[in-house]
Protein backbone atom coordinates (compact mmCIF):
# COMPACT_ATOMS: atom_id res chain seq x y z
CA UNK A 1 0.00 0.00 0.00
CA UNK A 2 2.94 2.33 0.75
CA UNK A 3 4.38 2.00 -2.76
CA UNK A 4 0.89 2.56 -4.19
CA UNK A 5 0.63 5.93 -2.49
CA UNK A 6 4.07 6.80 -3.89
CA UNK A 7 2.74 6.17 -7.40
CA UNK A 8 -0.37 8.24 -6.80
CA UNK A 9 0.59 11.89 -7.04
CA UNK A 10 -2.69 13.28 -8.28
CA UNK A 11 -6.25 11.97 -8.15
CA UNK A 12 -6.33 10.75 -11.75
CA UNK A 13 -3.26 8.54 -11.11
CA UNK A 14 -5.48 6.34 -8.96
CA UNK A 15 -7.91 5.93 -11.84
CA UNK A 16 -5.04 5.21 -14.27
CA UNK A 17 -3.75 2.44 -12.04
CA UNK A 18 -7.23 0.89 -12.15
CA UNK A 19 -7.16 0.40 -15.93
CA UNK A 20 -8.04 -3.19 -16.82
CA UNK A 21 -9.03 -3.76 -13.18
CA UNK A 22 -12.46 -4.15 -11.64
CA UNK A 23 -13.69 -0.85 -10.26
CA UNK A 24 -16.69 0.35 -8.33
CA UNK A 25 -18.32 3.49 -9.71
CA UNK A 26 -20.97 5.43 -7.82
CA UNK A 27 -23.28 7.46 -10.03
CA UNK A 28 -25.97 10.07 -9.56
CA UNK A 29 -29.51 8.81 -9.12
CA UNK A 30 -28.74 5.99 -6.63
CA UNK A 31 -26.93 3.94 -9.26
CA UNK A 32 -23.66 2.09 -9.02
CA UNK A 33 -21.57 0.02 -11.39
CA UNK A 34 -18.98 -2.70 -10.90
CA UNK A 35 -16.96 -3.52 -13.99
CA UNK A 36 -13.59 -3.62 -15.71
CA UNK A 37 -12.29 -0.17 -16.60
CA UNK A 38 -10.84 0.13 -20.11
CA UNK A 39 -10.78 3.85 -20.87
CA UNK A 40 -11.47 7.22 -19.28
CA UNK A 41 -10.82 10.88 -20.00
CA UNK A 42 -10.58 14.11 -18.05
CA UNK A 43 -14.38 14.41 -17.83
CA UNK A 44 -14.48 10.96 -16.21
CA UNK A 45 -16.25 9.61 -19.25
CA UNK A 46 -15.48 5.91 -19.01
CA UNK A 47 -15.69 2.72 -21.01
CA UNK A 48 -16.20 -0.40 -18.95
CA UNK A 49 -16.89 -4.04 -19.73
CA UNK A 50 -18.57 -6.89 -17.90
CA UNK A 51 -20.60 -4.39 -15.92
CA UNK A 52 -23.13 -5.06 -13.19
CA UNK A 53 -25.37 -2.08 -12.58
CA UNK A 54 -27.23 -1.76 -9.30
CA UNK A 55 -30.10 0.69 -9.04
CA UNK A 56 -31.46 1.54 -5.62
CA UNK A 57 -35.17 2.26 -5.69
CA UNK A 58 -36.15 4.09 -2.52
CA UNK A 59 -39.87 4.39 -2.02
CA UNK A 60 -40.95 6.61 0.84
CA UNK A 61 -43.68 4.83 2.77
CA UNK A 62 -46.72 6.53 4.29
CA UNK A 63 -45.75 8.80 7.19
CA UNK A 64 -47.37 6.69 9.94
CA UNK A 65 -44.64 4.08 10.31
CA UNK A 66 -41.97 6.29 8.82
CA UNK A 67 -39.98 3.47 7.22
CA UNK A 68 -39.51 3.54 3.48
CA UNK A 69 -38.79 0.49 1.36
CA UNK A 70 -35.51 0.04 -0.46
CA UNK A 71 -35.46 -2.21 -3.48
CA UNK A 72 -32.43 -2.99 -5.60
CA UNK A 73 -32.53 -3.79 -9.30
CA UNK A 74 -29.47 -5.35 -10.93
CA UNK A 75 -28.61 -5.83 -14.57
CA UNK A 76 -25.63 -7.01 -16.60
CA UNK A 77 -24.14 -5.07 -19.50
CA UNK A 78 -21.25 -6.38 -21.58
CA UNK A 79 -19.68 -3.11 -22.79
CA UNK A 80 -20.72 0.30 -21.59
CA UNK A 81 -19.81 3.93 -22.11
CA UNK A 82 -20.61 6.03 -19.03
CA UNK A 83 -20.88 9.80 -19.38
CA UNK A 84 -18.66 11.54 -16.84
CA UNK A 85 -21.19 14.06 -15.56
CA UNK A 86 -23.13 11.33 -13.71
CA UNK A 87 -20.03 10.00 -11.94
CA UNK A 88 -19.70 10.66 -8.20
CA UNK A 89 -16.74 8.42 -7.32
CA UNK A 90 -14.49 5.69 -8.68
CA UNK A 91 -13.00 3.15 -6.30
CA UNK A 92 -10.37 0.60 -7.34
CA UNK A 93 -10.43 -3.08 -6.58
CA UNK A 94 -14.13 -3.76 -6.15
CA UNK A 95 -14.48 -7.35 -4.87
Amino acid sequence: MADLSAQVQEPFDLVRLSLSERVFVKLKGERSLVGVLHAYDGHMNMIMSDVEETILLVEPEEEVNGAGTVQTVKRQLEMLFVRGDSVILVSPGAR
Binding site: L19, A39, Y40
Partner: protein, 96 residues
Protein backbone atom coordinates in the same frame (compact mmCIF):
# COMPACT_ATOMS: atom_id res chain seq x y z
CA UNK B 1 -10.78 13.44 -27.52
CA UNK B 2 -10.04 9.78 -26.83
CA UNK B 3 -13.67 8.85 -26.27
CA UNK B 4 -14.65 10.88 -29.35
CA UNK B 5 -12.21 8.78 -31.41
CA UNK B 6 -13.66 5.59 -29.96
CA UNK B 7 -17.18 6.65 -30.96
CA UNK B 8 -15.98 7.49 -34.46
CA UNK B 9 -14.77 3.91 -34.84
CA UNK B 10 -18.22 2.74 -33.70
CA UNK B 11 -20.15 4.40 -36.54
CA UNK B 12 -22.56 2.03 -38.31
CA UNK B 13 -22.70 -0.21 -35.23
CA UNK B 14 -25.97 -0.83 -33.44
CA UNK B 15 -25.87 0.80 -29.99
CA UNK B 16 -28.35 1.42 -27.18
CA UNK B 17 -28.30 4.91 -25.74
CA UNK B 18 -29.76 5.34 -22.25
CA UNK B 19 -30.76 8.90 -21.47
CA UNK B 20 -30.85 10.57 -18.07
CA UNK B 21 -34.67 10.42 -18.16
CA UNK B 22 -34.38 6.57 -18.39
CA UNK B 23 -35.46 6.45 -22.05
CA UNK B 24 -33.47 3.75 -23.88
CA UNK B 25 -33.08 4.08 -27.65
CA UNK B 26 -31.50 1.42 -29.84
CA UNK B 27 -30.31 2.40 -33.29
CA UNK B 28 -27.48 2.54 -35.78
CA UNK B 29 -24.83 5.09 -34.81
CA UNK B 30 -24.54 7.39 -37.80
CA UNK B 31 -22.31 10.14 -36.47
CA UNK B 32 -20.85 11.71 -33.37
CA UNK B 33 -19.16 15.04 -32.64
CA UNK B 34 -16.73 16.43 -30.06
CA UNK B 35 -19.55 17.05 -27.53
CA UNK B 36 -20.53 13.40 -27.94
CA UNK B 37 -23.79 14.46 -29.52
CA UNK B 38 -25.04 11.35 -31.29
CA UNK B 39 -27.06 10.78 -34.44
CA UNK B 40 -29.00 7.52 -34.57
CA UNK B 41 -30.81 5.95 -37.52
CA UNK B 42 -33.45 3.20 -37.61
CA UNK B 43 -34.25 3.74 -33.96
CA UNK B 44 -36.50 1.73 -31.69
CA UNK B 45 -37.40 2.48 -28.10
CA UNK B 46 -36.63 -0.36 -25.69
CA UNK B 47 -39.90 0.09 -23.74
CA UNK B 48 -42.48 1.29 -26.32
CA UNK B 49 -45.41 0.76 -23.89
CA UNK B 50 -43.99 3.46 -21.67
CA UNK B 51 -42.96 5.82 -24.46
CA UNK B 52 -45.62 5.43 -27.19
CA UNK B 53 -45.01 8.96 -28.48
CA UNK B 54 -41.58 7.82 -29.74
CA UNK B 55 -43.08 5.23 -32.12
CA UNK B 56 -43.16 7.52 -35.13
CA UNK B 57 -39.57 8.63 -34.69
CA UNK B 58 -37.24 6.86 -37.12
CA UNK B 59 -34.02 8.75 -36.61
CA UNK B 60 -32.79 11.29 -34.12
CA UNK B 61 -30.08 13.56 -32.86
CA UNK B 62 -29.28 13.20 -29.16
CA UNK B 63 -27.61 16.02 -27.26
CA UNK B 64 -24.50 14.61 -25.58
CA UNK B 65 -25.29 16.06 -22.18
CA UNK B 66 -28.52 14.07 -21.76
CA UNK B 67 -26.82 10.71 -22.24
CA UNK B 68 -26.25 8.50 -19.21
CA UNK B 69 -24.89 5.35 -20.88
CA UNK B 70 -24.20 4.01 -24.32
CA UNK B 71 -24.26 0.22 -24.53
CA UNK B 72 -21.86 -0.82 -27.26
CA UNK B 73 -21.22 -4.23 -28.83
CA UNK B 74 -18.27 -5.82 -26.98
CA UNK B 75 -16.91 -7.21 -30.23
CA UNK B 76 -16.56 -3.71 -31.69
CA UNK B 77 -13.85 -2.54 -29.30
CA UNK B 78 -10.28 -3.65 -28.67
CA UNK B 79 -9.90 -3.24 -24.91
CA UNK B 80 -6.09 -3.50 -24.97
CA UNK B 81 -5.95 -0.70 -27.53
CA UNK B 82 -8.29 1.41 -25.37
CA UNK B 83 -6.13 0.98 -22.27
CA UNK B 84 -2.93 1.89 -24.12
CA UNK B 85 -4.58 4.94 -25.68
CA UNK B 86 -5.90 6.01 -22.27
CA UNK B 87 -2.41 5.72 -20.72
CA UNK B 88 -0.97 7.75 -23.57
CA UNK B 89 -3.60 10.47 -23.20
CA UNK B 90 -3.11 10.51 -19.44
CA UNK B 91 0.65 10.93 -19.91
CA UNK B 92 0.21 13.80 -22.38
CA UNK B 93 -2.33 15.75 -20.31
CA UNK B 94 -1.04 15.14 -16.80
CA UNK B 95 2.71 15.41 -17.26
CA UNK B 96 3.43 19.12 -17.43
Amino acid sequence: MLIFSVFKTLTDQVVTVELKNDLCITGTLKSVDQFLNIRLDKISVVDPERYPHMMAVKNCFIRGSVVRYVQIPATAVDTQLLEDATRREHASTHKR
